[in-house]
Assembly symmetry: C2
Homo-oligomer: 307 residues x 2
């Protein structure tokens, strides 16, 4: 769900000079008798959080220096905004990353106002250099990136928006904007939205998916252990049980660390084949684990359910 | 292992004017009677690859337009370099990401020469704006980032170096440069290198590790299912077997997708507790899976070993 739009002051040609705009954003006029919460903060407080949301009360705290009807942002927010090393144009690199998969979704730039907006609304917001204006990813497509945490790098000139996308991030409809592999291109392949930048777990998931597709398109075709597992549920389940037992044995019989690594690899692979047969993505599993954490701690929940 | 340094031409004050430097890099003089491979390409060919390494022969192919003793780069490399939308300073954002965990390690900028160097040496290389020179991450610390693939975004103005770091990436000794959480800071926490930007799987791993540390520092303390599992190997192993059986049941008894998601979450969590007891990190498991893939395909290897 989109957060209600926040008032936006015109941004001057140099984004560095945006402090009046930031001030307009940070000093939000509230109606008489209201709760003292601005819309953005309310949205932040309501957002499902991997991390505890930043307490609305401290954002909404009235400061002595503001005129009646104005709500001042916690000076800590301003201190963070001021601590970023904005470049000569008032910008810093802002990278959006999927909290569950770690996939880098897109990269843009943020100015002070964009970062302030992201902090308060928890919707990834950038400064569009071509349009010279703020831009909340999803404001047109509704594919917002719901920000769970924001990280600054050691130099304070690079920002990560760690969040959950509502849908594809790229304007092309691809999940991420990064689907052009340089080495594939050098081997003559055209960019392929199915060949996105992914870390090992999701590369494995892709490979398993391709094997399933090959069964449909090519029949038995080239022999493959994955295909064999996909076609034989009883074999697949017996392998999962077997690999779980072998993983356990590395602990109970005090086997080498390298055995544990290898057996966990086997268990993970076979379990991921089962996920594919059931049409489940690893991202869904991780999302469930994240929510268990953020609700009550996985241990407590597991303890209630299982013991 | 570090790749032998490549010759570097001086870079002019505007990185955009670096094409003579790029040409010096791309036209590498080779000794008479040599194999025709430059050091960088040899290093690339030897690098353990998630993706097949770019064929050395096509990089080293002699073109009719070069003078004797020079080796021309495949025009495809030049075409890719030319396809990037370098900014007015000749730069594009370059993000280094861990191939196994998906962690964003650092962000810098690349010019044409830096990208060309990364393509050929497979060591993540940037253009340092403060020093106005190329900079291969690790050239001082030896903590290189070994690049397995390079991705361009849809706009061709942002680059991901997907690679395996030899050690900590940050100059502070932290694994990544991103360890300052904005929301933590707003709650009064100081930046903490143990609280880095991580996706769900590694956040879960961190939580399990903290529970293990709490047992050491606090004894039994606050009740926790994770602590109970860590302290009782037989309970832990019985839970792993049980969860594997429950995951299997969702397939064999055609249970809802949501059951599969939940049971896989349970299995993954319990197996990760075992990893922690054995002192194994998930990254090590994923590295093994990646290597199985890149060697012969996991299916074929699994087939040879298991059936």
């Amino acid at each position: 769900m989109a957060a209600p739009p926040l008032p936006r002051a015109p941004v001057s040609s140099s984004a560095a000079a945006a402090s009046p705009g930031v001030r307009a954003l940070l000093l939000l006029r509230v109606g008489g008798g209201g709760s003292g919460r601005c819309a953005g903060v309310a949205a932040a407080a309501a957002a499902p959080g991997w991390r505890r949301p930043f307490p609305a009360a401290s954002v909404a705290a009235r400061s002595a220096g503001t005129t009646p009807g104005e709500v001042a942002v916690d000076p800590k927010v301003e201190a963070i905004l001021d601590s970023v090393k904005w470049d000569s144009k008032g910008l810093a690199v802002a990278i959006a990353q999927n909290v569950d998969t770690g996939a880098i979704l897109m990269q843009g730039f943020a100015n002070k106002e964009a970062l302030a907006t992201t902090i308060s609304t928890r919707k990834a917001t950038f400064y569009s250099r071509s349009r010279s204006s703020l831009w909340t990813k999803g404001e047109t497509s509704m594919n917002f990136i719901n920000v769970h945490d924001i990280f600054l790098d050691c130099d304070r000139d690079s920002i990560i928006y760690l969040g959950k996308p509502d849908g594809p991030t790229c304007h092309t409809g691809a999940e991420t904007c990064y689907y052009t592999s340089v080495y594939d291109a050098l081997q003559g392949s055209k960019p392929n939205q199915d060949r996105q930048v992914v870390s090992t777990l999701y590369s494995l998931e892709d490979t398993i998916s391709r094997r399933k597709e090959e069964i449909v398109t090519e029949g038995s075709g080239k022999p493959s252990w994955t295909k064999k597992l996909i076609l034989d549920n009883r074999l697949l389940c017996s392998k999962i049980s077997e690999e779980a037992g072998e993983l356990n044995r590395t602990l109970l019989e005090n086997e080498d660390e390298s055995r544990t690594i290898s057996e966990m690899g086997d268990l993970l692979y076979h379990a991921m084949v089962l996920l594919r047969v059931k049409g489940v993505r690893m991202e869904q599993v991780l999302e469930v684990l994240r929510k268990r954490f953020s609700q009550s701690g996985i241990e407590e929940k597991a303890s209630r359910n299982k013991s």
